[in-house]
């Protein structure tokens, strides 16, 4: 088993869990961990000492440097591509070509599964330490309501009229995480088993075992009825916007459908700049290239390389506008 474990680690076949629990940010990415990722795409990267993907930047910003922090979900974190193809790198290269005397640092603090409340917590707990010129919230309609899906993540909550960030101190859950991590952080085999068990929760076991002999009912092609509650104003979200520094915070809708009207109104009242990736992505889609389709694996998922290129150019364009205003 030990020999197999070595083979799995060094061949990159098996991955270990990329998560760790920290007292300041809760469940975060493991410091200095190199990862190889296969899903709809193949990606290679490394979490730096500040626990986000990319090279380490010093807390202190150097002169003539524009520092931008990206907050968002898995579309921003982007495990499925090489970091050199990430839209932030494309934007940085484009901007540095344009402004020869300026340096641009775009820090990718995206995390899979993050919603607006998680992003706000990350802004306060981690992003602001880097003294950025701009903080970009890259989100979609689904991210506007706090879900509090991970008990080990810090929670942005309203206490009276003010926003507070609470880190769950439920020791039982932390102990349980620490017990499990002993196995899944160190054994690729056990981590594979863990992933397999997770898969059986989404796909019925008889279907995995019997294949074609147990056909799954195909999803009906009915439009997904959006609950009106999805678009309802949320008090925490409202408070987050009210707490935004309008000079520093920028909102980008990463999806083609627009954000709800109430959200744009709140941003406008507060004077927060907001932009859309959707128009660029839609143009790409209309030209016959699906930014979410991965030909090699025949899967639909996060942005592919072309998607990143388009988004990267759009981001450079947005930053350019902000600098010039």
């Amino acid at each position: 088993m030990v020999i197999i474990e070595f083979f799995l680690i060094y061949s990159g076949v098996g991955s270990v869990s990329p998560n760790e629990y920290y007292n300041d940010i809760g469940r975060g990415r493991r410091q200095n961990l190199q990862y190889l990722y296969f899903n709809e795409g193949f990606g290679v990267g490394k979490f730096n000492e500040y626990r986000y993907i990319g090279k380490t930047h010093t807390i202190k910003k150097s002169k003539n440097t524009v520092r931008i922090i990206l907050l968002g979900d898995s579309y921003v974190e982007s495990f499925q591509i090489f970091q050199r193809d990430h839209f932030s790198v494309i934007a940085k290269n484009e901007l540095e070509d344009k402004y020869q005397n300026k340096k641009f640092e775009i820090l990718n603090l995206g995390r899979s599964g993050f919603d607006i409340a998680d992003m706000y917590a990350y802004q306060k707990l981690l992003a602001e330490k880097f003294n950025p010129d701009y903080i970009f919230y890259i989100l979609s309609r689904e991210d506007l309501k706090p879900k509090y899906s991970d008990p080990l993540r810090p929670k942005t909550v309203l206490v009276g009229d003010s926003l507070k960030i609470k880190l769950d101190t439920n020791q039982k859950k932390i102990n349980s995480f620490n017990r499990n991590k002993l196995f899944i952080q160190h054994s690729t085999i056990l981590n594979m088993l863990n992933l397999g068990i997770k898969k059986t929760k989404n796909t019925p076991l008889p279907s995995i075992l019997l294949g074609k002999l147990y056909p799954l009912e195909t999803a009906k092609n009915e439009p997904i009825m959006k609950s009106s509650k999805d678009d309802e104003k949320n008090e925490v979200t409202k408070a987050i916007i009210e707490n935004f520094n309008s000079k520093r915070i920028v909102i980008i809708n990463r999806d083609i459908p627009p954000l709800p009207d109430y959200f744009y109104k709140l941003l406008d009242i507060k004077g927060v700049n907001h932009y859309e990736f959707g128009t660029s992505l839609n143009k790409l889609l209309e030209s016959g290239v699906d930014p979410n389709y991965w030909e090699i694996t025949d899967k639909s998922g996060h942005w592919n390389q072309t998607g990143h290129e388009v988004v990267g150019r759009k981001l450079a364009n947005i930053i350019n506008q902000l600098i010039n205003n």
């Binding site: 197999i4 296969f38 019997l210 030909e295």
Partner: protein, 474 residues
């Protein structure tokens, strides 16, 4: 049904007790024919008809050739067999290839032709069972084999599920006599069978499939990768195709053993070859020996002087390439091997050693092994590339070298895979057995290793998607 799927193990678990329980030869063989058709029909039941057609034609033609004394009639029957078998193969596998090639050539010389392009589904394993049945009628024609009178035995010879879809391409001389007796596996066969299945599954799933994830990503979008990453991609493909196909062959042999049948070895550590001739004695042995016996020798072999020998060699390798797939890249791949073999034969005169054993590993032998591997590696590029543009892009990215920030990571991945496959091959080479684990004296260690390999493979299969065997498409 893929060997690397849970359904295969359920299928095997269901048929083995029934097979062991059946009392006589005829009932066992009928049951195996039904099981084999179920196995084959799991992909697409419509192709079972093709299998049945080939079986009926060759069974009756075999009898007719044997019973007829008239040489002309015997030839006629052989031609009917060749035309019908190769006709089916040509239609399903090569129709669009020849039509498209003709259209392209016509357009290049200014003719405007618009031929029909059919959407033809390629029946799995058609090249394998076609060659297997052809060897039967040719051997009967050459009076090397007496045809069977038992239709069920013959139907089982054609459809025997362990080797139906990707070989080894068995000769009737070797397989039919086994099927004409009551199949009763010995304890030794069962032990070796289980061992081969586990080792084959590990090779296929943990080495072949996992290497394939890198290869598919890299070759699927060459533009996004740097030079060293492309080279690693090619090295990994050389490992993927070997682990994939040898894994399948191990599993085929292991499964056959559980049914009391011995199949030929298809691989003998091919990357340990000291020259290209030796490589073809170690790689896909059942195909290379088939091509030698039924094509190269039929063309005249080395009987009519050197020039004709080189010509025969080139024709054999070009057709061998085309056998792999209806695409020019396979023809180039076969052609390159033909050139290598011709050059090697030209320079080595008659000094090619017949033994595959290396008595002592010297620096010269090591350099020879490395050179042979690099030459073979180069040909794999054409095999893996789906188009000439891909090959061109690969070369251009190597010539215009781009460095990668992940060089050491990619090199260490390639080295790990090489080490894994070389280690397995060294054990096979030293012991002379594919089921080398059985030589471990302590049964605890023996079964511990086998259980670990099997368990890890199953865990991987649970969380990842199964990749079909590369050779299924041929």
């Amino acid at each position: 049904m893929l060997f690397n799927s849970f359904i295969f193990f359920i299928f095997l678990g269901a048929i083995l007790p029934i097979f062991y329980f059946l009392p006589n030869k005829q009932s066992k063989n009928i049951f195996l024919v039904i099981s084999s058709y179920f196995f084959y029909g799991y992909w697409d039941w419509r192709f079972c008809g093709l299998l049945a057609i080939s079986t009926v034609i060759d069974f009756y033609i075999g009898r007719k050739i044997y019973e007829t004394k008239n040489t002309k009639k015997r030839k006629l029957f052989l031609i009917i067999s060749l035309v019908s078998n190769l006709g089916i193969l040509a239609f399903f596998k090569y129709f669009n290839f020849f039509v498209d090639s003709f259209v392209t050539i016509s357009e290049n010389i200014g003719w405007n032709v618009d031929f029909l392009h059919l959407n033809i589904l390629l029946p799995v394993g058609i090249s394998f069972y076609t060659f297997q049945t052809l060897s039967y009628t040719i051997d009967v024609f050459k009076k090397k084999l007496e045809p069977t009178k038992n239709f069920i035995d013959f139907a089982l010879f054609v459809s025997f599920f362990p080797q139906l879809v990707a070989g080894p391409i068995e000769r009737a001389k070797a397989l039919l006599p086994q099927l004409s007796k009551k199949l009763t596996p010995s304890i030794e066969q069962i032990k070796a069978g289980i061992t081969l299945i586990v080792l084959g599954l590990f090779r296929k799933v943990m080495i072949g499939d996992t290497a394939g994830r890198y290869v598919d990503s890299i070759f699927g979008d060459l533009n996004t990768y740097m030079s060293i990453e492309l080279i690693v991609g090619l090295v990994l493909f050389s490992i993927q195709i070997y682990a994939d196909f040898s894994g399948y062959s191990h599993m085929a042999r292991g499964t056959a053993k559980l049914l009391g049948v011995e199949l030929m070895k298809n691989f003998e550590q091919p990357y340990f070859s000291r020259n290209i001739t030796e490589f073809w004695r170690r790689w896909h042995i059942s195909l290379s020996s088939w091509l030698k016996d039924y094509l190269y020798i039929s063309l005249g072999g080395n009987r009519n002087g050197k020039f004709l020998m080189y010509r025969n060699l080139m024709i054999t390798m070009l057709l061998g390439g085309l056998w792999h797939g209806a695409s020019w890249n396979f023809v180039i791949w076969g052609g390159l091997h033909g050139v290598y073999l011709t050059i090697h034969k030209f320079f080595s005169k008659n000094k090619i050693p017949h033994s595959n054993r290396i008595k002592k590993l010297t620096v010269v032998i090591f350099i020879n092994i490395l050179t042979t591997y690099i030459l073979v590696l180069f040909t794999w590029l054409f095999f893996r590339s789906t188009s000439w543009e891909t090959t061109e892009l690969f070369f251009s990215k190597i010539i215009n070298w781009e460095s990668s920030e992940h060089s050491s990571l990619f090199i260490s991945i390639a080295c790990t895979y090489l080490l894994a496959i070389i280690t397995l091959d060294i054990f096979e080479y030293v012991t002379g057995k594919h089921s080398f684990i059985l030589l471990i004296k302590s049964s605890g260690i023996r079964y511990g290793i086998l259980s670990a390999l099997f368990l890890v493979s199953l865990i991987y299969m649970l969380q990842a998607e199964s990749l079909p065997f590369i050779y299924f498409q041929f």
